[in-house]
């Protein structure tokens, strides 16, 4: 059993990571942190830079939970990559970050979060960043 969290270098991503660490402590299970990109654009703001990624690793070390990190570039949809890892690790919980959006914004943009919510077999915990 494990908790899988999809990390993005944005406020909601950090919120999701913090919450996932807490859950992992409570449940005493392994935490899997994923950061994925399709790698087809020259710049992807959801792909953590090496300094971001080091900060994530440091945070995990400091928290003391058993963890595993993976940063991958694959042709498939980021949501599918997350779901596949959740399946492989037999996840009991998936944690994702959500942006605050209006219903119209949601309607137009679509999202990876939606795919995860609709397709995941495990329960999904959606975390938003704190309001400024």
């Amino acid at each position: 059993m494990a908790i899988v969290v999809g990390f993005v270098p944005r406020p909601e991503g950090h919120a999701a990571l913090d919450r996932a660490i807490e859950e992992a402590k409570l449940r005493r299970v392994r935490l899997v942190v994923l950061n994925v990109s399709r790698g087809d654009a020259l710049v992807d703001s959801r792909f953590a830079s090496s300094s971001d990624w080091e900060a994530v690793k440091a945070k995990l070390e400091a928290s003391g939970v058993e963890h595993e990190v993976a940063q991958t570039v694959e042709a498939r949809d980021p949501a599918d990559q997350l779901l596949r890892v959740a399946e492989e690790t037999n996840a009991e919980l998936i944690v994702i970050g959500l942006r605050r959006r209006t219903p119209v914004g949601k309607l137009i943009m679509g999202s990876a979060a939606q795919t995860v919510l609709l397709d995941a077999d495990a329960p999904v915990l959606a975390v938003k960043a704190a309001r400024d």
Binding site: G39, D40, V43, V73
Partner: protein, 522 residues
């Protein structure tokens, strides 16, 4: 001073609302494609060629020139923020520009690039307006043998200067000449290289060739190298150019203009070599040599001014002699031909409205570009977030529509695919595309001049070299071929010995060519 009067008339043409609109469309599009690596002005103009069949030539060329200039601005943004040059002309900018951005001086680097581009572009365009009528006065006296000699010079220069090896350059030139000769021989009426296919009798449409080589070839290449780790874009905040930056930038801007304009005007393959020379010169003249390699502002200001000045310089031979010196100029020459206009000494008289309107619109375009790029560079950089499959799907769509619309025949679509495959393999094996496109478009013109010269001399080969001008040009051609070989020999003989001041620039130039050939493929 007739140039100045004509230029003022040109502003009258350029400032009409509709022409102004096309200038704006051109520079916006140019900046956008400049930001995106792998998509350059030559490809964009090729893609737009069929759309312009419905436009007045003046409007079309105002838009094309805007794209050409805009590409030079946009390329620096990607170079500085991403360390991936947006255009081959901005390769050098990436060296110091990216280091500046990493030090938190990105805004200053972007500003010196934009302002330098503006100053160089304006001075260069002014020089174009002053020089063009003078060159026309000389060019009007040239005959067929002279033109053929100049075209030979253009072929040889672009072949020997670009790419990783001369053999590859020559191969590319040969491919271009071969494609250029397909069709009915204009002098004798015989079919050549048509393989008995009736659709080939008219020759291969320039749209199909240009779009195939640039757009389809590049799309296939990207498709073969699609996945890679996203690069890290450097965040830029407010620190603009301070007094010190201005003091250190203005001289490189002016020096860059001085280097760029003449280099743009000679057929040396565009902006790669002059930008490198500008960088080397700034490195030598700077009062802060310790900063080179750690983000020196001179290393951004000089090359960025140079590439815009060379874009202006490149228009001189195009408009006065009909000789393209870069891929973009070659595609523009193709556009002139598809309007039934043959650029040459008579162009300034026959199409005075067009030429001077075009030059005036370059001034206006430069102002718009400064306004677009100085405050908005980081917004342009967002274009880099577009997934490339979307981008190239759009490009292929436009490419296919364009190729089909040229003659509304499905045969052209097959041809597009074949030429696109050729473009892919040229990239794969490191053949520079520029000699091919110049040969395809200039080849038939050169052949016509050759035949005419030989008809005048009754088939005597001496007729090709019987004018003083052509003799001089052929001597330059021979020097171009021989001198690099001799320099190579001499240098390999005294390798490890003394490193002369003079040898520096020449010695490094070929390695730059290396970089460029790889650059095109990326």
């Amino acid at each position: 001073m007739d140039g100045i009067n004509a230029l003022i008339d040109g502003f009258g043409t350029a400032l009409t609302p509709i022409n102004l609109l096309y200038a704006v469309i051109g520079v916006v599009l140019g900046t956008a494609i400049g930001v995106l690596p792998g998509i350059g002005p030559a490809m964009t103009i090729a893609l737009l060629l069929p759309l312009t069949f419905t436009l007045e030539p003046t409007q079309a060329f105002i838009m094309f020139a805007g794209i050409y200039y805009g590409g030079m601005y946009g390329g620096s943004t990607t170079s500085i923020l991403l360390n991936t040059p947006g255009e081959s002309a901005s390769v050098i900018t990436a060296i110091e520009g990216n280091l500046m951005a990493k030090k938190g001086r990105g805004a200053a680097a972007l500003a010196t690039a934009a302002i330098g581009s503006f100053i160089a572009g304006t001075i260069g365009t002014l020089a174009l307006a002053l020089v063009a009528p003078q060159i026309v006065k000389l060019a009007i006296q040239l005959g067929s043998p002279d033109y053929f000699a100049i075209m030979m010079l253009a072929f040889i220069a672009v072949t020997t200067v670009l790419g990783s090896s001369k053999i590859r350059g020559l191969a590319s030139l040969g491919i271009g000449l071969l494609i250029g000769t397909v069709g009915i021989d204009p002098t004798s009426g015989q079919q050549r290289l048509t393989l008995g296919i009736p659709q080939l009798a008219d020759g291969i449409d320039v749209v199909v060739v240009a779009v195939g080589l640039f757009a389809v070839g590049e799309a296939l290449w990207i498709a073969a190298h699609l996945r890679r780790n996203p690069a890290e874009i450097i965040h830029v905040d407010g620190a603009r150019m301070n007094r010190e930056d201005w003091r250190r930038s203005w001289k490189p801007w002016l020096r860059g203009t001085l280097i760029g304009f003449p280099f743009g005007a000679i057929p040396a393959g565009g902006a790669e070599i002059p930008t490198f020379l500008s960088y080397a010169m700034e490195k030598k003249l700077t009062k802060h040599p310790e900063e080179f390699g750690h983000g020196a502002i001179e290393g951004v200001a000089g090359p960025e001014a140079t590439n815009n000045a060379s874009a202006a310089g490149g228009l001189v031979p195009l408009l006065t002699l009909g000789i393209p010196t870069t891929a973009t100029a070659a595609v523009m020459l193709g556009a002139f031909q598809s309007y039934g206009i043959q650029p040459g000494p008579r162009l300034l008289d026959e199409q005075a409205d067009l030429v001077w309107g075009l030059i005036a619109s370059l001034f206006i375009g430069n102002v718009i570009l400064l306004a677009l790029n100085l405050p908005l560079a980081t917004i342009w950089a967002r274009l880099l977030n577009i997934p490339r499959p979307y981008l190239y799907a759009g490009i292929l769509f436009f490419a296919s529509i364009g190729a089909y619309a040229a003659n509304t025949s499905t045969f052209d679509l097959w041809l597009l695919l074949i030429i696109g495959g050729l473009g892919f393999f040229m990239r794969r094996f490191g053949l520079p595309v520029v000699p091919a496109i110049i040969a395809i478009i200039l080849g038939p013109v050169a052949e016509e001049q050759l035949r005419r010269a030989l008809q005048i001399s009754d088939g005597e080969l001496s007729g090709l070299v019987n004018t003083p001008f052509s003799k001089v040009v052929y001597v330059i051609v021979v020097l171009l071929l021989v001198v690099p070989v001799v320099i190579d020999r001499v240098q390999s003989r005294r390798r490890g010995g003394d490193q002369g001041d003079q040898g520096d620039g020449i010695q490094d130039a070929p390695s730059l060519g290396h970089q460029h050939a790889n650059q095109e493929g990326q």
